[in-house]
């Protein structure tokens, strides 16, 4: 027996001894159907953090994978974990401590590893099924990825996300096209992983559907179109990589509050 196996055996044995048995409802494999939708705001206009009013005519996002965890979302009000979860933390996968910020994913409970592209103006879409185990779901990781298959690759031009629309502020109008590549988002979040997204806290006990809601207005929190050429509806101004609004868009794209997860039986 290897040292690692020995220690694992000892840990698990002691856990049973210490707790007098395990929670039998935790850890059973389940199927997690998956759907994605955008906030209703996408059909109307929304205000940005810089005072612009935006209406989108295109919003496409490429998702590589989804993971669900029992750890609390990053920087949210915390609640006391039940005893069995605290024990599970001790025995679960190790997670890195970040610096200077901190998010502990905790134990992985579910995943969807088949890449998808989301046309956020097309309404609710069904994504490939995921697998998971029963337990307390509290946070999620959304991994942004360059599209690997058609038609998403053509639709996105190899980018992680593409949006088009019109922005208004103080009599100015800008027709714009913004995009971000994988390297743009990976500069901000390692491997394009948006970690610590909120998942409506729930004890998941059976098969069900996880719905991802994307909030595109969050992508625009830092975007300022001041000084951007007005463009036209037919020929929007395409903001190149490295231009300030494009950098701001890439930062917004990885903002974890842009993605919200919920489970329904």
């Amino acid at each position: 027996m290897s040292t690692k196996a020995l220690w694992l055996w000892l840990s698990m044995g002691c856990a049973l001894l210490a707790c007098g048995g395990s929670d039998t409802t935790t850890g059973r494999q389940i199927t997690l159907h998956t759907a994605a939708q955008s906030d209703p705001e996408i059909a109307a206009t929304f205000a940005t953090g810089t005072g612009w009013t935006v209406q989108l005519s295109k919003a496409v996002l490429s998702v590589g994978s989804l993971y669900y965890f029992d750890g609390e979302p990053a920087f949210v009000l915390r609640k006391q974990k039940p005893l069995w979860l605290r024990l599970a933390d001790a025995l679960g996968p190790s997670v890195a401590h970040a610096h200077p910020g901190h998010y502990l994913a905790g134990m992985a409970l579910g995943q969807v590893t088949v890449p998808s592209s989301l046309d956020l103006l097309a309404g609710k879409v069904v994504l490939p099924d995921g697998i998971g185990i029963t337990g307390l779901y509290r946070s999620a990781r959304l991994q942004l990825a360059a599209p690997s298959t058609e038609p998403a690759r053509t639709q996105l031009g190899g980018q992680v996300a593409v949006v088009e629309g019109v922005a208004h502020k103080d009599g100015q109008t800008v027709f714009f096209k913004l995009s971000a590549s994988f390297s743009d988002v990976a500069r901000s979040v390692s491997q394009g992983q948006v970690d610590g997204c909120p998942f409506d806290e729930l004890e998941v006990e059976d098969d069900g559907t996880v719905t991802l809601t994307v909030k595109p207005h969050v992508w625009f929190n830092l975007v300022d179109f001041t000084g951007v050429a007005p463009g036209t509806a037919e020929a929007p101004t395409e903001l190149a990589a490295g231009e300030t609004p494009q950098i701001a868009f890439a930062l917004g794209l990885v903002q974890l509050s842009a993605y919200h997860f919920a489970y329904q039986p």
């Binding site: 040292t3 840990s11 920087f75 915390r78 605290r86 200077p100 910020g101 830092l222 974890l256």
Partner: protein, 296 residues
């Protein structure tokens, strides 16, 4: 889970089993907690164009006050057993030199307590003054501050003239630091503390004064993406140019996205950015880390 962690968890569990299942007396020891602000808070944060150990943009910064209020220092284990919790709260000005004693828990079972945590929350009128002025404690309590920093920064401009700015920032954040872990650089990445029979274990709740000036809220795992200390943008936020940078001025100034990265969090202004960073000042045994949760 890595082998080291497995060993630690296994060792802790074995010890607990021995204690709980076998009823064997493992003896007792002491756990002490101190705090220190390190040189950055006691002396200065220098300029360093390389970004390794100071401001990349030429500023040097000196703290006159670095006031912190500690609550609920807790020693526990991963099964939920709590060995000790500090009653009340302790007020410290970490510009005062040296390590300050916060609390001592004698007679703890001599085992591995792998869940150590604490809180930095607003001062209370009865927060014990460990180091600092009572008037500062009262000011903190009256304003609901958990962290208060005051100081000055200066830089020699391209015209050879020295520019100076002062700041007095109070933060009302309430933050839980849990699962504190000694950094691997300190020898072993130990979670919590190991109390030995008849021994005295000392844990330092270190406060990091440089964090407030980071240009990222979370570090990147990509070593090519550096986290740097910046002050130019905070200085420029002094819109009335009176030499004092207020939190209100910082909150009225949006971050320069070419230089600052909220790392997925919501911090569109320098005020929000600095406030988020104020939650990250709490560390453990130097560079050791704790998981951070927002209490308020």
């Amino acid at each position: 889970m890595n082998t080291q962690k497995l060993k630690l968890v296994g060792a802790a569990c074995l010890a607990l089993c021995l204690l709980a299942a076998c009823g064997e007396d493992v003896g007792t020891g002491e756990a002490k907690f101190t705090t220190w602000g390190e040189e950055y808070i006691e002396a200065t944060i220098p300029a360093d164009p390389t970004g390794e150990a100071g401001f990349v943009d030429g500023w040097t910064l000196h703290y006159d006050k670095f006031l912190v209020v500690f609550h609920a220092i807790t020693v526990a284990d991963s099964r939920g057993a709590v060995a000790a919790t500090m009653p009340g709260s302790k007020f410290v000005d970490n510009t005062r030199p040296g390590r300050k004693d916060l609390v001592s828990f004698p007679e703890l079972d001599a085992i591995h307590w792998d869940r150590v945590g604490y809180q930095i929350k607003p001062a209370l009128p009865d927060s014990e003054v460990v180091a600092g002025d009572v008037t500062d404690r009262d000011m903190m309590a009256a304003n609901g501050y958990s962290v208060y920093v005051a100081g000055s920064a200066s830089k020699v401009g391209p015209d050879g003239k020295t520019v100076s700015k002062t700041f007095h920032w109070g933060f009302k954040t309430a933050t839980q630091y849990q699962g504190c872990q000694q950094s691997a650089e300190s020898g072993q990445p130990i979670e919590g503390i190991v109390v030995t029979n008849g021994g005295s274990d000392v844990s330092e709740l270190t406060t990091h004064g440089d964090h407030l000036f980071y240009d990222r809220l979370m570090s990147s795992n990509d070593p090519a993406v550096k986290t740097s200390l910046r002050f130019d943008e905070k200085a420029a936020a002094d819109k009335n140019d009176d030499g004092e940078i207020t939190l209100e001025e910082l909150s009225a100034t949006r971050i320069d996205v070419r230089l600052y990265d909220p790392s997925g969090l919501d911090a569109p202004t320098y005020g929000a950015f600095v406030t988020s960073l104020a939650r990250t000042i709490g560390h453990y045994r130097g560079e050791g880390e704790c998981a951070v949760s927002v209490l308020r």
